[in-house]
Subunit: 444 residues, 2 copies
């Protein structure tokens, strides 16, 4: 990176296959990453903006923070408008303020306003590169201006490239959103017609603070590729695209996957500083230690039983592990049904009934397997019977708890992806230890 | 459902808020669901098609399978073309064959061809409702035909509603895809110009067998909302839309979440038959039983140690549980980095180095916590020291194994979402039991 000329750098980045871009840059040393972006920002800000779009928002923000604010501003201005707000939102107020001060006044004001919307609302997901015309404009004027824009695009490669050109949006004299004109109507309309006569008046629109879940439902219902966003006073702010809503859904599901594994916030990457990574992981592990100690205390109660039959010790993690896995399956199905909109908190009873039916079959299978294993391994029929009888009731409990806990956590406003695992695991461990040891104390 | 008239049913379904639709229908009894769809299919097939799009493909297929094939065919024909293939692919050959036989010959042939493409390729994701014109057509002819289509749309509500109207696609005399005409050029072009003179010749296209991962990269790189799909002989088959690719990505991440929890295939819903649900879950649990028995055998080796210090038995699941959670965190970060394209199989060494640095901090924290807990709870300094010294090396191993196993599994072509958990858990359990018991045998 250091030895190449600017032109060589630009060519090298431009020629990277897209599926290799993130990987290649991520594998440079932090100093080289910074040097690369710094020089690219000056030499070809558009290319630097494209490069950043290959990264996670937090990673793009980390890279951009190290660049001189004046150069960073040139890069930001070339990014898609929804991406601009996402990346700046990941920076400290001071760092994003530095960059905003370098932008032209109107662009900065516009971006500051969009920074005010959470990134899981229509305001945070919308783009502002849209065709906006006065409803009193005639088709021929609009076509002329589009033609000028197209000429500009041919000249400098910018212009309408990023525009959502399926619809034009019309505003009334007060600047309020008044209609939507599909491109098709512009093609088919008379040249002298006013946009107002062509516009669809009864169109679907949304407010800037609409949450992304509602937008998902909206796009499920309508066939439009984009829906206009207005503020509280009816002024057109931008459009939110179907693609942006679906991209957000994909990212949310990926973060849920990370949270289920015990990553707080769902956002760790190995390029983050080691202290913050270790801190976040410990913040999850120490409460888990507390919970495992609670379930271990059940074993502590039965120390005399274990002293008499130390062979039991090896079967405790087996029964707990199996029933824990079964509970994890029920958690997974509930998480999936929640995300598909098939169950709500009040369905707890129904979920438990459905789980219990399945668990009768699963418990019978697992109980038989444990009976045979326990008997064969220890040569002691009592041990086999202990395990075989302990497993099915714990299995029933495991699936019922696993199926219902994500719903209950969501019902009280907690994040089921993060919390379901430890809560379910602790409950099942306690039940498994108690069932095996209490039956053993009676039988052995 | 049974007592309502057809008109009442149609109105009731039409008035459901979209976010309630899936939930409401899912909460009817299976008989009522079938009766509803059966009658809706006859009374308003378009509405029945909309209803099915609220469901998962497998659930939509299950509902449609119960409807008379002639009525089902009317519903299928109203669905979006990418959805048609997805739903029929979830049915048995016999059931989908029945429906295909009811369709007009060309529609059936078209759909059969699309059923041949796996649903994670361009062929499986594409829609076929596109504007396709001969490149020798003049702008005025094209506009006239679009106008006729629009009139048809106004008449019966179908027509171009679902069409991707941002681009027209041109074909040459041999029917091969020859160019793309943005709607804008049609607006701005001379009425007598041939499409061939307006078309972009150097456009982005893709083959029907392109996997969805490559399509994601493609849409990362280009700004188009849709890209045309051609067969091996260059004939235009359809277009794949950015939105379809991103929707697929969201579904894949959700299925990964379910697989991580131990749901084979990632597709269980509680509306499926109980036998198939229990079977799939057992198919995951029985191998897990085998793996837990392997790690339990380590405890079996140290039975004399446990007989002497039965207090150890309660700490074994604590150490194994904590180190297992830590391994799960490393798995989660690797899964996330894989999905973001930041790591590949050859990065195993780098991942392990990054994990080990974090694990030194985490291991020190957890080791200290376990030393204090063990000492305080048992009143035995030796027990505290055993736990405190056993934890850090197991922690190092846990993060290194957790971080690298998803990469290695992917490298040999196995599904990391499904297999990482059990493999990592077994390794860590064995290491934790061995470390604690071996140190205890020496110290206590």
């Amino acid at each position: 990176v250091r030895e190449a000329t600017d032109a060589q750098l630009v060519l090298a980045v431009r020629d990277l296959p897209p599926e290799e871009t993130a990987w290649t840059v991520d594998h440079l040393s932090p100093d080289d990453q910074q040097a690369l972006l710094d020089r690219l920002a000056r030499a070809d800000p558009g290319l630097a903006a494209d490069l950043l779009e290959h990264f996670d928002d937090s990673q793009a923000a980390a890279l951009l923070r190290e660049v001189d604010p004046a150069a960073a501003a040139l890069v930001v201005i070339r990014m898609d408008s929804d991406e601009q707000a996402d990346v700046l939102a990941e920076m400290s107020e001071a760092a994003s303020g530095e960059i905003l001060r370098q932008l032209p006044r109107t662009a900065a004001a516009d971006l500051r306003q969009r920074l005010g919307y959470p990134d899981d609302t229509a305001g945070g997901l919308m783009i502002t590169e849209i065709f906006r015309f006065d409803e009193a404009d005639a088709v021929e004027d609009v076509v002329r201006r589009l033609r000028e824009g197209a000429a500009e695009e041919a000249r400098d490669g910018e212009g309408y490239r990023a525009y959502e050109v399926r619809y034009l949006y019309t505003t009334d004299a007060a600047g309020r959103l008044s209609g939507v004109v599909p491109m098709r109507r512009l093609v088919l309309g008379a040249r002298s017609a006013k946009l107002a006569t062509l516009a669809i008046r009864d169109f679907v629109k949304t407010a800037a603070d609409t949450p992304v879940e509602e937008l998902e439902d909206l796009f499920d219902r309508v066939d439009y590729s984009a829906v206009p966003v207005e503020d509280a006073r009816g002024r057109l702010l931008g459009v939110v695209q179907r693609a942006a809503v679906q991209e957000h859904r994909g990212e949310a599901a990926e973060e849920d996957l990370a949270k289920t594994g015990g990553i707080i916030g769902g956002e760790e990457l190995r390029s983050m500083p080691v202290g913050s990574r270790a801190g976040r992981r410990l913040a999850f592990l120490l409460p888990v230690l507390g919970l495992t100690l609670v379930s271990a205390s059940v074993i502590g109660l039965y120390e005399p039983t274990i002293r008499e039959s130390p062979g039991l010790a090896k079967f405790l993690p087996v029964v707990a592990g199996l029933c824990g896995s079964s509970g994890g399956q029920a958690v997974a199905v509930s998480m999936r049904e929640i995300s598909l909109g098939l169950i709500k908190t009040r369905d707890v009873g129904r979920v438990i009934r459905k789980e219990v039916t399945a668990a009768l079959l699963i418990g019978a299978g697992v109980g038989l397997a444990l009976f045979l294993t326990g008997w064969a391994w220890s040569g002691d029929l009592g041990m086999g019977l202990t395990l075989g009888f302990a497993a099915p009731p714990v299995m029933l409990l495991a699936t019922a708890v696993g199926g219902s806990v994500p719903l209950l956590l969501r019902g009280v406003g907690l994040d089921p992806a993060m919390m379901s695992g430890p809560v379910v695991q602790t409950t099942i461990d306690m039940a498994a230890f108690l069932a095996v040891l209490a039956i053993a104390a009676a039988v052995l």
